[in-house]
């Protein structure tokens, strides 16, 4: 593929060629991602619909499959209303900041051993940095809207995300200790050797903390206080309309997919098969389910995304101070204790994970 691109663009000067190839790579990553986001909204409406004994969208196209397209078209044609006395520059910057970081984080996400846009050694740090900057989108949007509801939401979001970043960061420290690498590809390779080698087992509390913090980071129910519909209407994006609003929406869903992807990469063995190394399967015609493939990664991420939707259909919303209490008094102590436990496991070289 890449060779073909190089030969096609070989008449261009080298610098231009590089740029074009980078752009093509970005397009190849982002177009499926944005389609994934669009159909995640459809999946959400359908799945939650069935959980709530109703049908969900079924009017646009066969079985409603074109619903996300119709939504996108509708939002694109809507006017972007800028409220009076709002800071116009920041008001328009905020959605850009949200989507920019949400998409940029995907640069270092590997899809299999070779397929990664940028094989950065500090991938984990890069992702932490990107998701943290994304929060500024929410905060700036809340402040720039010149609305009291949005302002409250910005305050809630900043407090919530600061506290959950810490828990999340500590959870990642555990992964770092287990894999001795910040490169996401290496983290996955460190888990190869069958389902018992996945970090899910030794790092189970960290997995739970990471995933719940991820739900909180993406402002999803039951942690959606920043947009808590029944309290502060829609929170930070209450004044946004049209495409500006839908960009926040895209960013939220892109982040959901990102969190699920990362959780599967770091704890569930990424693209590795859970049946790896089982001889009966490897010798049968079902050998393909025992081999690592991108399908496994997507399946694991899809399962975690289902959990996102399931939470939303099941749980009531936390109150803002309860979220803070959960973050500071439960999650952070758990992660700290478990990091200590990992240290001990590392010292005594326990299990298949810490032998080296």
């Amino acid at each position: 593929m890449l060779d073909l691109l190089y030969s096609l663009t070989s008449f261009l000067p080298e610098s231009l060629q590089t740029i074009i190839i980078i752009l093509v790579k970005i397009a190849v990553l982002l177009i499926p991602l944005l389609l994934g986001v669009a159909y995640l909204t459809y999946a959400e409406r359908k799945i939650i619909g069935y959980m709530q004994v109703r049908i969900g969208p079924n009017r646009v196209g066969p079985r409603g499959w074109l619903q996300p397209i119709a939504d996108a078209v509708k939002l694109m044609f809507k006017e972007i209303v800028i409220p009076n006395f709002a800071n116009k520059f920041l008001f328009l910057l905020a959605p850009v900041l949200s989507i920019g970081t949400a998409l940029a984080a995907w640069a270092v996400v590997p899809f299999n051993a070779e397929l990664v846009l940028a094989d950065v050694n500090a991938g984990l740090l890069y992702i932490l940095a990107m998701t943290s900057v994304g929060v500024y989108g929410v905060i700036i949007a809340g402040w720039a809207s010149n609305s009291k509801y949005a302002m409250l939401s910005a305050l809630r979001a900043s407090a919530q995300i600061v506290s959950y970043e810490i828990a999340m960061g500590f959870a990642l420290v555990g992964v770092l200790m287990a894999s001795r690498s910040l490169n996401l590809g290496d983290i996955v390779i460190g888990q190869s050797g069958g389902i018992y080698h996945w970090y899910l087992l030794p790092l189970f509390p960290l997995f739970v903390v990471y995933f719940i913090s991820g739900v909180a980071e993406t402002n999803r129910a039951p942690f959606d206080v920043a947009e808590g519909e029944s309290e502060i209407v829609a929170g930070f994006h209450v004044e946004y309309s049209g495409m500006a609003f839908s960009i926040f929406f895209l960013a939220e869903y892109a982040n959901m997919i990102l969190i699920s992807m990362l959780a599967s990469l770091m704890f569930l063995g990424g693209w590795l098969s859970p049946f790896e190394g089982i001889e009966i399967i490897q010798n049968s015609s079902l050998a393909f389910i025992g081999t690592a493939s991108i399908g496994w990664l997507l399946a694991k991420a899809a399962f975690l995304l289902l959990l996102f939707l399931w939470f939303r259909a099941t749980f009531p919303r936390y109150r803002y101070d309860q979220i803070m209490r959960l973050g500071w008094k439960v999650f952070i102590p758990i992660t700290i204790v478990w990091i200590f436990v990992i240290g001990l496991m590392y010292y005594w070289q326990i299990g298949p994970w810490f032998t080296h």
Binding site: Q52, Y149, S230, I232, T314, F315, P316, Y320, Q322
Partner: protein, 417 residues
Amino acid sequence: MAEIRNYTMNFGPQHPAAHGVLRLVLELNGEVVQRADPHIGLLHRATEKLAESKPFNQSIGYMDRLDYVSMMCNEHAYVMTIEKLLGITVPVRAQYIRVMFDEITRILNHLMWIGAHGLDIGAMTIFLYAFREREDLMDVYEAVSGARMHATYYRPGGVYRDLPELMPQYQASKWHTQAEVNKLNENRQGSLLDFLDDFTQRFDTYVDEYETLLTENRIWKQRTVDIGIITPERAIALGFTGPMLRGSGVEWDLRKKQPYEVYDKMDFDIPVGVNGDCYDRYLVRMEEMRQSNRIIKQCIRWLRDNPGSVMLEDHKLTPPSREHMKEDMESLIHHFKLFTEGYSVPEGQAYAAVEHPKGEFGTYIISEGANKPYRLKIRAPGFVHLSALHEMVEGHMLADVVAVIGTQDIVFGEVDR
């Protein structure tokens, strides 16, 4: 240094959790509520004044529109007041029908409440579950009165007509094939009572379903336990009634304390709370749904065995049958007089109250002997509860305001009248 002021926020009238048109001016210190000032009147329709210019019967329809989630209970209080002034008692079968529909209405109201309360606190699914059951009860409303909400089914002297022998059925259409429709019609083959009987068999498991979603849910408990506590003494002093009062542990229910219609023949319990917080009121209302179901079962049993008249035979007050009108001059005159001029009510005043799903709902009528009330006063429980909003939310957080509005079960139709 700049002066530090509280953050004043308009909560409503256009707000997803305002339950209609509540405008709440909140003074917040951070997220902590310092003062909550409910502004009412955005749904004022002058029901009391309108009633002064209409014959008695023509105001029954307005009563439906007061608390528009418990329609027939509103009618009941109004109709009972007129009956008290006229000094009439309605046939026993009509009394049973009224009791049955009061309890259906209570379930309807509480289902609406659990849905809205859940949604306010962020539990979406319960809302749609509750509406699934509401649909069946709405069909029952429609079967007896022709209207799904604003029934105007109770009349002075009884109820408009007897329960139908056939439950209306779904028809096949472009969207629903005959097979689908047959499935939907499975429990609609018999009479209305058969359909209701089937519903009462199912309903307890539905309530269990709601409870599995909420009762032991940690988040639900964190959001409702110790929120909006009202002590029994304060609850009485503030004039609370209904589940708001019983949630605080005061055992007061008009159905037991001053039984009207045939409630004294019914076997049911009055659930009371202990702590007077949102969670206790939640539990009280959940149990009330089960108790209402019990009452409906008893009514169904009695109504099956005891056919009879459902309307007083005094045609000065109640319309004659259509057949009589065709051949009997006097019936025709009765009909004409009744639907143009109405009937005159003896001079005097009366107050009658029912145990409405939200509390004590009463109407007070002063009659000067004319065919219209001189004055009608409506005692709406929601108004009393709303006036205690500040006391209930002071010192709580913004998200708790929503929980308290939900637990008060406010409907602006009756608050603003």
